[in-house]
Subunit: 313 residues, 2 copies
Amino acid sequence: MNRKATAFAPATVANLNCGFDVLGMAIDRPGDEVTVSFNDTGSLRVVQITGDGGKLPYDTDKNTAAVAIRALCDHLGERRGIDVSVAKQMPLGSGMGSSAASAVAGVVAANALLGEQLNKYDLLPFVLKGEEAATGTAHGDNVFPSLLGGIVLIRSYEPLDVISLPVPTHLYCALLHPDIEILTKQARSILPTNIPLKTAIAQTGNIAAFVAGLYAQDLALMGRSMTDLFAEPYRAPLIAEFGRVRAAAQYGGALAFGISGSGPAMFALCDSAVRAQQVGDLMLRTLQNRQISAELYVSRINKQGAKVIDVVS
Amino acid sequence: MNRKATAFAPATVANLNCGFDVLGMAIDRPGDEVTVSFNDTGSLRVVQITGDGGKLPYDTDKNTAAVAIRALCDHLGERRGIDVSVAKQMPLGSGMGSSAASAVAGVVAANALLGEQLNKYDLLPFVLKGEEAATGTAHGDNVFPSLLGGIVLIRSYEPLDVISLPVPTHLYCALLHPDIEILTKQARSILPTNIPLKTAIAQTGNIAAFVAGLYAQDLALMGRSMTDLFAEPYRAPLIAEFGRVRAAAQYGGALAFGISGSGPAMFALCDSAVRAQQVGDLMLRTLQNRQISAELYVSRINKQGAKVIDVVS
């Protein structure tokens, strides 16, 4: 029987308000699955994509999973042909790290198919290639947490310096995705090139306190540090009813609320599963009451990251 | 005999490169001493200042210790007159938190004189008043670490949110003060009002990693995170031979090197007392070889902060 491997990679919440472009967090679900197997053509092929409504490319120069897998194969000197099947289980252009999850699941599955030659930290550069294909820029704040799990800090890209931060127990996330699409490129282009030094100083204070809160398991400190002075002032107006959804999350007792990645998804962090569900329901109802359809995902923080879920040899 | 109290408050290194305006660290020595006693005039008076070369004001609206003590007395409803003696033991306008140390020692001594009605965290607003008198702006990155000891993060001023960060064991500081004066106001006025968003993002990554390094006792991570993208590019040219002194510190194996506060003092962090002395000697010799006189202070990180050293009742 033909050898094949399937991997799951979780959705992610990038930025976490105070960590624009440098912080990301993985959640337990949803996530994408990618299956890879050898073919005898000697070529990389995307043979199946499900769950994308026909929107994702089969072109291996554009499909994020394929681009990332090719980067891995080039590194390993692997010349056998590989077939790639992508099972998307989350919306596209959502701010939930959709393209990142496919790239990560692809690389993790391919690494398993090829005999687990590399560990997860070794895989960082290849998942970054996949993200670059999707968004045009090599940002790791979705791919790295999807790969490694937990809350991840990217200090530097050259050289790559990625730090796994501790995740407080009892931390849960309510993630609400309104059915509107915002392209990452568009959300990025509306940001200013320059910002006041004062704003930058305030944000450094917030992210430093956020990290301290994580280590000290001080959820209150963590929550009050999660303010976004860089992107939210510009991006929130793109998201219908953002202010009302925020008010609902605060009313429900969320530790923090903000835009997930570049949106339109919004997230709330909570100190229990029960509260995350309650807060999520309040957020969802706020949109539904205004005839905006949306999907709600309530989940633990994912500490494990991407994982191989099936290998047939 | 007339009741009196004397307190010591340590010098401080503000900013720590990656934490412009939000981080500060106390060192064991040098530091200032302030003695306070009751007088029967009902007025606050500065009766003696030593070690300042005649430069500091006796005017209680301008002297940092007096301003801070008055703020404390106003808060406590204290109407007795107090005499203040300041023993300066560090250079002025040095970037070592000189004015801050006097303000802190004054408030801590006065609090002891008045029966220790407040704890250290309660004293934060009053020491800030003293700093404001000295520099025109209420920055806490010298006064708070001088008061509390250790490495201190100021997340916010309104409301005041001050976090004591853990200090790795075996952390030592070499502090070199060249005999030139830079006024804080001047050092501040040359900074740009706006900075590139990219620069701000890089600094948030650095300070977040620095805090992670402190908690994880990862000195290498801490060291490579201590980059100053906000102030150093503008302030370093004000300090003679800054580049050569940095090279000496790096050659000697310092974990990090930078401008202390707004300069001209420069600091190096090291992983042992022996190395801090060696690095400090290399830095000092670099200046001496170019006919620039300077003082070197090698010290542990001060974890205790300001302390009452004598009470006579």
